[in-house]
Structures are given as C-alpha cells and as structure tokens.
C-alpha cells in the first residue's frame, strides 16, 4: 500500500496493474510510474537491488540509512558503522531493446485492446524509470526489421521523458529481424551494458541466437523478456477461422480445435529452443503473458534473477 500525496488516503496500486486497467491509461509515463510504485509497494523492498551486480566500496553510516545495509563484519573489526555501496549505484548502463514489429500489435480478446506492444513498452518504461531513479544510465532501441530509433544510455533527468515519447510514438514495420538488431546493438554499445530485450521472439531462432551470442561475446549482460498474448499460448479458438498473418501476407482457414495441439507443439518447440540457447549463454529468458498483471510478472522475474545473482 502506498499513500496518496494529495488526499492522504491509501490507494491500492495493485488494483490498477491489471492490463485491462492499464490499457485505459493512455499516458505511458503515468502507467510506468503506477507499475513501479505498485510493485514496490507490493514487495516492500527495493526492486532495483536486483540490478546490483558488483560491490564497490564502504562509506560511513549516516542517519537515515537503512540499518540492514550496515556491514556487520566491518563493525566487528573496527567498531564503526559502515554502509556497503555497490557499483550500480554509480554507473550501470541499461539498454532497453523493444520490438515494434507488426506481430507485437496483436491483441487478444481483451476489452479495451491491450496489445503485446503495450505490454512491452510498459515493461520498458517501468524498468527505465527504476534505473534512472537510482541514477543508472538507461537507453532505448526500438526496432522491427532494423533499428528504427536508438537513444544512447544516459542518466540525464530528461532521459526518461525522451524514452517515453519515443516508445509512445513508434509505429513498427511488418517484418522482424531481432538477430540482426542484436548484432547491431552489440556493435553500437561501447561499454559493458545490461541489454533488456522485450519482444515476442517470433523470429528465426538461429539468427536470434546468433545475435544473442554476439552480445554475450561483447560481454554484455542480456535479459530476454518474451511478451506473448495468452491466445498465442493457449490457442483457445473453436470456430472455423481465417487467420491472417500480421507480418506476412498469408492466410489460413482452419478449424482451430483440430490444429490446436499441433500449433501448441510448434510454438513450444520454438520457445524451448530459444530458452535452451539462452540458458547455455547465461542469458535470463522469461516469458511474460500479457494477461498476467505486471506487478506479478515483473517482480517474479526480478526476484528470480536476484536469487540467481546472489
């Protein structure tokens, strides 16, 4: 629970994190803050600890610091209170790579429509907000078959606003080429960075894995957030339907029930292949269902990552 600064009444932020509710909120910045505040209030702990990857130095404890960051081993040796400080607090570069291809425009049976892209940019905006809040640098690349716009990582206070505007404005090309984009990102980033890929990963897995490998070779850390609609995971149709490709001009009339099992098998195999490759390359890969509220899916992912890092 968090306190509303204007009315003083307690607002249940989590109530607003349901995609159906978020879809009603037009402004991405408000939506992102709502998400961040929502899951912070839900977790009662700092989410950005999950980004902490390396210890930097100690500094003396001052009033107001959280006592749980006191290094008790140092206190035992020196009888003084020191606080542990980590590297990310100083210079972590987060590069958000968001897929804006036509396949990301798919929206399931939600009302109002909640596209995968809406979900993706909400995630991206939320993460950028958190990163910038703790003075890390955050950058953005929006792509489809190529990078449409890239914003270099920065911790400038206006950076978040620039990113929000870019995410809100981007209209994608029908095609996707994530592998090539990752190759390009790998070349573009001069410093070691945390690259967060937000995409449905409906792409050629070989090219995609090649791109991931390239990034890892450049010693970038990578997180894959695969955003999928619940329909794509379940294929819950039961009437004869003409499916029209969103990225290619093809169509298919089928009885969905008859093809469901085979379809699920195909998509599962695809997802498993990518996940296996990511696992081998020490890349975190998580599937995010757009029907699941972000205050559940994001903290879950962050918590599991923190556990792995520790």
């Amino acid at each position: 629970m968090a306190a509303d600064s204007t009315s003083g009444e307690k607002i249940d932020y989590r109530r607003h994190l349901d995609p159906k509710v978020l879809a009603k909120i037009g402004a991405l910045d408000i939506r992102a803050r709502l998400i961040v505040e929502g899951f912070i209030s839900g977790m009662h702990r700092s989410p950005y600890k999950g980004f902490s990857i390396e210890f930097a130095q100690h500094r003396p404890y001052t009033s107001g610091d959280d006592i749980k960051f006191i290094d008790w081993k140092v206190f035992g040796r020196t009888d003084r209170h020191y606080i542990k400080q980590y590297e990310e607090e100083t210079n972590l570069q987060v590069m958000l790579v968001v897929d804006a291809s036509a396949s990301m425009a798919y929206s399931g049976r939600n009302n109002p429509p909640w596209r995968k892209y809406d979900h993706a940019i909400s995630i991206a905006a939320s993460i950028a907000y958190v990163a910038l809040q703790q003075r890390d640098s955050a950058g953005l690349a929006v792509y489809d078959s190529r990078i449409r716009r890239i914003i270099r990582p920065s911790n400038n206070p206006r950076q978040w606003r620039i990113m929000i505007d870019e995410l809100s404005a981007t209209v994608g090309d029908p095609k996707t080429d994530t592998g090539a984009v990752l190759d390009q990102i790998a070349e573009e980033l001069k410093h070691r960075s945390l690259v967060i890929l937000v995409s449905d990963l409906f792409d050629d897995p070989e090219r995609l894995i090649k791109g991931v490998r390239h990034l890892r070779y450049r010693r970038h850390d990578l997180i894959c957030l695969q955003v999928l609609d619940h329909d794509e995971l379940d294929f819950p149709f039961n009437q004869t339907t003409m499916f029209k490709g969103m990225e290619e001009a093809n169509e298919l009339v089928v009885e969905p029930q008859a093809l469901r099992e085979a379809y699920l098998k195909e998509i599962t195999e695809h997802n498993n292949r990518i996940r296996t490759a990511c696992h081998q390359l020490r890349v975190d890969c998580t599937q995010i269902d757009t029907s699941v509220p972000l205050d559940v899916s994001l903290p879950n992912f962050l918590a599991s990552r923190a556990a792995r890092m520790s």
Partner: protein, 745 residues
C-alpha cells in the same frame, strides 16, 4: 416416376427412409457452408500455425472426411432404422437372425370376380378384404408382389416391395377390371418373378386368389374343364409347373361361389359382309347359360342407335350350355354411315356381360368391279365372260345387294378401286406391275379380289406375278371328257356354303348343285394358311381363299362363264355365288369393334387427333402415329388400351367404337370344386384353400421370416453418432485448462 421407385425400397416405410436419406444432405450442407462462413482473425504467430497445418494437412482432411462420413452414415442408419429396413439379401437376412420371404399374389381381378350373388358380396370384394387384412398383419421380412390376372389389369405391384401400410392401402384401393381372366399368363409372370427372386429370399410362395370358375381354365361352356382340355388349361398347368420349378410353393385361395349363375351374350355378329340400307340385318347371337338351372324363353332385346328395334325369344337354354340364334331385324336402317346395335338380355348378378354392342357402317350397296378379259360381242350374240356374274349380282328385281360395274382390262388403270368392295378379274392376263401394286394395295386395305381363269389367262404368268398375294398357285390345265366331266363335291366343300343346298335337296328341291359339270379347269395348289371352300370330286380344289393384309383373295379353278362349266346355267348358280360372296367378302368395321384391353386403331384421315366420349362421361383421345414398316407404313389414329366396355362416340355423337367384355372367355362362371380344380392345376387338393379366411392367418403358419432389423440399425446409428462425437473430441483435443504453449521447464 419417383414415388414408385421409393415404394420399391426395402423398408416398411419407404417414404420415411426417403425423407431421412434426404437429411443426409444436412451435414454435407453444413460442412460446405462452414467452409464458406468463417470469421477473420489477424494472427501474429502465423509461422507456427502454418507449420502445424503443413505437417497435419493430410490428417486433418482425413479426419474431416471421416467425421462427415460418420455423420452421414449415422443419419442414414437412423433413417433406415425408423423406416424399418428389411434385408433384401438372403445372407444378410440370415445374419440378422431370420429369413426373408416373398409372397407373390396372383389376384384374379377380371370382370367375373365382380359377380354379385343374391346375398353377400362379390368374390372380388371378399378377396380384397382378405388380402388387405392379410397384408396389414404381415411381419417384417415379408416381401409382397401382386400380379393382376386380367386382360385389362392396371399396374399393381409387379415388382416385390416390403410389407408396409402402402401395400395394404394399394390393395384396398383396387377395383375389379372389365378385362377377362388371364390366369395362365399371370401365373407365368409369377413363375418368372419367383425364379428371379429365388436366390434373394429364403422362401417364395405364389398364391392364386380367384373365384375358380370354368373360364379360368378356358372352358367356354359346361362346368367341367376336364371334359375337354383346352389350350388355356394346358397353359395354366405349364405355369404351375414353372412355379414349382422356380422353387416356389403354390397355393390357391378359392373365393368363388358354388351357387354362381350367369347369363351372358357372348357373341353378336353380322352374318353378311355388310349392312345395307333397305335390307334386313342378319345377325348371329350366342347366349350362354352358366348356371345349374335351365333358362326358359330367353328373350333378347335389340336396340339400334339406342332405339328399340325388336325383341326375339331364342328359347330355353340348358344348364351350363350356350345357344346360338340367327336373328333377322327387318329393314331398320335408313341412313348410310356408322350406327350402333345393342343386344340385351335380362340383368343378373354379373350385368356387364348381359349386353353386347357393335358399331357398323350401313351402305347403300356393295360395289363390285368386274374386269372382263374377254368382253364378247353382243352384236354376234357372244357373251362377255362376266356377263353371267353381272346378271347374278344385279338381278332385275328390287333390292339389289350388289352394284356391279363391268369394265375391260384396258380400263383397269383408270378405275378408282377405293370405291369397290370387290374386284373380279375374269379370264385376263396378269396386269402390269402398276396395276398389280394397286390391286395389292386394294386387298391390303380390306378389299376382296376374285380371280377366274380362262382362255386368255396365262396360268404360269399369274403364279409368277401373284407372289404372296395369291392363295394358290396355278397348276396344269385339265380337260375332262364330255361323258365324264368333273363335278362339285358337295360333301367335301365348306358346310357354311353348302348347308342350304343340302337342306333343299333333302326337301326335294332341285338346285342342280349335284349336277354341275366342269369340263375344263386349272389345278389349284393351295399355299399354306389358304382355305379351300369348294372342292371337286377327287378332292381337287375349285375355290381357294386366302387372307392378304386386311383383305381376301379368292381363286376359282374354272371359268366365270359357260365355256368351261355349266355352273352359270344351273339354278344353284345365283344362291351359290351369293353364299360364296358372303363368305369371301370381308366384313368392314372390324376395327370399330374390340374387346376390353385392346387398343382402338382407326385409319387416319384429315384429322390428326380425335376425342371420343365413352361410357360414364369418360374421354379417350386418339392421336396420329406411324404404323407398319416398309411398304406397309401408314398413319393411323390410336389411343390407350380400352379399359371400359361401352360405345365410344365422337363429340358430334357418331359412334366410332363398341368395346365389349370378352364374354366368351370370361362369362362361364361355373364354380370348379376343389378336387377338380386341383386336377386342373395338377396339384394336390390340399393346396386348394376353400376357406379363404385361412389367408388371414397364413402369415403365421410358415417358417419364420426375418423380423425387420430396424431397431438394430437405429442402435447402430446412435452408436455411430456417439462415436462421431468422441472422434470429433479426440481429433480436436480441446482441453483449455490442461495445455498451453508455455516454455517447458
């Protein structure tokens, strides 16, 4: 067209099955509609869907087809179950735990079955009630065919159908026809059907349901068909034998009345070739008494054009016998043209044969063309060869029946033969080809050609030219001695010609018939089917007659005048010529008189269509059609077979046809007892069922037929329907809660 085909289906309710079978189209239509009606959905994960489709397209198509087939089959089976399918195949029937059976009912529906006794109902009504009752209670697995045994039988169930209410309904709707019984033909049909179905069903039985009358066995008078075995009785026996050979069991259900009695006019005909205005009408009448009691003073009433023209009592007719009477109606016709005559006796239990009618054409005289090859010379007192004949045909007294015209051979090409009833060629050489063809045409259309030989006639040329026209070939020319001339053999000549001469001789009247001297003659060698009317001593033919087309050709062996014979000088000449002409001339109007079941055929004139009004306001349409082949091709007016007896008139009221029941073939309704009937059929007496009520219970008495397997098919249909549902579920595997495409750990 479609309904009879549906009725042939092997179901108790073929209509229900037809409706159900039509419902098979519903899943097909839904399937086709579904292929056209679908919603559209933009889809991001298209690559996976297409990959899945490509890998499964064959399976999907097969599944769809299988499901469609299952749906159709289920509907078909349910329809078959509801309609109560009956196995047509013997093996299938046995597999289903029963045996099928075919009952072929030969139902005598001829007019004698309509005899209504003083008390009770007619045999036909009784048989109809019994058969309807029987068919109503038939179990499943029974096939039924009903064959009518009448010359005018409408279409019954000549192809077997399963027992069903429609069979009962059809039987209950039947009415007695006006045709005569044709038992042998109907039994032969049944034998053929039994043979054809022997391998399809386990049992075949043939039932004859009839009144068992003498007429059924071709016995036209008397009450014992076995006294004189007729061709009809032999035919019946052959048919029964054929039924046995086909492996069918034959039984006879006798619905007749032992006390049946009937009076019928079985024949009414003119004894002269034509009815002439101003002359008496000579009729021959035959009345049958088919009863155990003698009928005293049988009186016949005559009507001409509906007006009473006299009554004649023909005397007492003995039991089981017929009486023939010669009737003379004095000078009743005043106008030429078509008229009708009706002979009527008192009505009885079978009134349809108490009346007999004829349509005839009245003429002023019979025109005879005498073609003389040797015209003679009146100036020198030499008579023409046909002079005697001309004098005989046109005597000086009043009321000549004939109107002769004498021409020479040179005039023959210019003569219009259509105006003549007969053409006499006397002592002429064979005419040219064109004239010969005209003569042939004349005879073919119903004319009479009479040929006399003579000095001028070349016998061998005639024989060569005559071809099929002449009834005999000319042989050698014989000259007899003056002292021992050839004579007419009165006793060996046709009785119909000689009878009055013999009678006159017995009464002591000299006619000279026994003293005719024939000095010269040509040998006649009759062809097959020719009839020798007059013979000379030693059996040599003197007058040979043969049919050609609708006409007749007569060939004399001696001359027409007194050169070769003294016949013209004898007192017998004139009556002999008249008797011969009455025999030889073709009675016109045969096509206007026919029996029930026959087709009316009239010569086509200017009309291409003719509408006739029959008895009871019925109408009959005659239309023009081409008949014959080759040279005999001609147009004629023809209609459907006549089903109802009576006079048929044009819209102007002119009688055009008289249709009678074949009383000679059917009116002897003397009931044949079971033992005699069994002998007639050549079957054991036990096969004759005299208690027809047994028919009602007979379906329970034989080996058990297969019950229909409708219930089984119904269950099978529902089973397939359930299987279809399971298969559809199995194929779709739509389990939303248990399977998603999440990443597998």
């Amino acid at each position: 067209m479609l309904l009879p085909m549906i009725a042939m289906l092997p179901f108790v309710s073929p209509g229900l099955f037809a409706a159900g079978a039509a419902c098979v189209s519903i899943p097909i239509i839904i399937h086709l509609l579904n292929r056209r009606r679908f919603r559209q959905k933009p889809w991001a994960a298209m690559q996976f869907l297409i990959a899945a489709y490509r890998r499964n397209v064959r399976r999907l198509k097969l599944q769809r087809l299988l499901l469609l087939l299952l749906r159709c089959l289920a509907i078909l089976l349910i329809a078959a179950g509801i309609a109560q399918f009956i196995p047509i195949n013997r093996g299938l029937a046995a597999l289903m735990g029963g045996e099928s059976r075919l009952t072929i009912v030969v139902w005598n529906n001829a007019y004698p079955m309509g005899y209504v006794p003083a008390s009770g109902q007619s045999p036909f009504a009784e048989s109809r009630r019994l058969l309807a009752n029987w068919s109503q209670h038939l179990p499943g697995g029974e096939w039924t065919a009903v064959i009518g045994a009448s010359s005018s039988s409408g279409p019954l169930l000549e192809k077997p159908v399963p027992a069903s209410p429609s069979v009962t309904s059809l039987i209950a709707r039947q009415k007695v026809t006006e045709g005569s019984p044709e038992i042998a033909a109907a039994l032969m049909k049944a034998a053929d059907l039994a043979k054809a179905w022997r391998k399809r069903v386990a049992h075949v039985r043939v039932w004859l349901v009839s009144d068992e009358t003498a007429s059924d066995f071709g016995c036209r008078s008397g009450n014992n068909p076995l006294a004189k075995l007729s061709g009809a009785l032999h035919a019946v026996r052959r048919a029964v034998k054929a039924i046995g050979a086909a492996g069918a069991r034959f039984r006879v259900f006798d619905v007749g009345r032992p006390d049946a009695a009937n009076m019928a006019v079985t024949e009414l005909r003119f004894t002269r070739p034509a009815v002439l205005i101003g002359h008496d009408i000579h009729l021959r009448l035959k009345v049958l008494n088919s009863g155990a009691q003698a009928e005293p003073n049988v009186s016949v009433r005559f009507l001409i054009d509906g007006v009473s023209s006299g009554r004649q009592t023909i005397g007492t007719i003995r039991p089981w016998s017929a009486m023939t009477a010669q009737v003379l109606l004095p000078d009743p016709i005043v106008l030429p043209g078509l008229h009708e005559i009706t002979a009527l006796i008192a009505a009885d239990g079978l009134p349809i044969d108490n009346i007999r009618q004829r349509v005839f054409r009245a003429r002023t005289a019979l025109k005879v063309l005498l073609v003389d090859g040797r015209p003679g010379d009146p100036a020198q007192g030499v008579l023409a060869s046909t002079a005697w004949l001309e004098a005989a045909l046109a005597p000086a007294d009043k009321g000549n029946r004939f109107a002769p015209r004498r021409i020479e051979i040179d005039e023959l090409p210019g003569a219009d033969l259509r105006h003549y009833t007969a053409v006499v060629l006397s002592d002429i050489a064979p005419p040219g080809t064109a004239d010969m063809q005209r003569l042939e045409r004349f005879v073919r259309r119903g004319g009479t050609l009479m040929i006399y030989p003579g000095e001028e006639a070349d016998a061998s040329a005639w024989t060569h030219l005559g071809g099929g026209l002449l009834p005999a070939a000319y042989g050698a020319q014989i000259h007899t001695s003056a002292k021992a001339p050839q004579t007419l053999d009165v006793t060996r000549s046709a009785g119909s010609i000689m009878a009055p001469f013999i009678a006159a001789q017995r009464q002591g009247i000299h006619t000279g018939i026994f003293h005719i001297a024939i000095h010269q003659y040509v040998q006649l060698i009759p062809r097959a089917h020719a009839e020798v009317l007059l013979k000379m001593r030693g059996g040599a033919p003197l007058l040979v007659v043969g049919d050609f087309g609708r006409g007749r050709v007569a060939m004399w062996g001696t001359s027409c005048d007194t050169r070769w014979t003294d016949l013209p000088a004898q007192p017998a000449f004139l009556p002999l010529i008249y008797r011969v002409l009455d025999q030889v001339l073709v009675a016109r109007g045969a096509r206007h008189n026919l029996l029930v079941g026959r087709r009316l055929v009239l010569a086509a004139g200017r009309q291409t269509k003719m509408e006739l009004r029959g008895p009871g306001g019925s109408t009959m349409e005659l239309t023009e059609m081409l008949a014959g082949a080759g040279k005999s091709r001609h147009l004629q007016l023809s209609g459907a077979p006549m089903a109802t007896a009576g006079v048929y008139r044009t819209t102007a009221g002119v009688p055009m046809a008289a249709v009678n029941v074949d009383a000679a073939a059917g009116s002897n309704i003397a009931h044949i007892a079971a033992r005699a009937a069994a002998e007639c059929f050549s079957i054991p007496p036990s096969r004759i069922v005299t208690e027809p009520e047994e028919l009602h219970s007979s379906h329970r008495s034989s080996t058990g037929p297969a019950g229909n397997i409708g219930w089984l098919m119904l269950m099978l249909g529902f089973l397939i329907l359930a299987s279809e549902a399971l298969a559809a579920r199995a194929f779709s595997r739509y389990r939303l809660s248990t399977q998603t495409a999440g990443v597998q750990a």
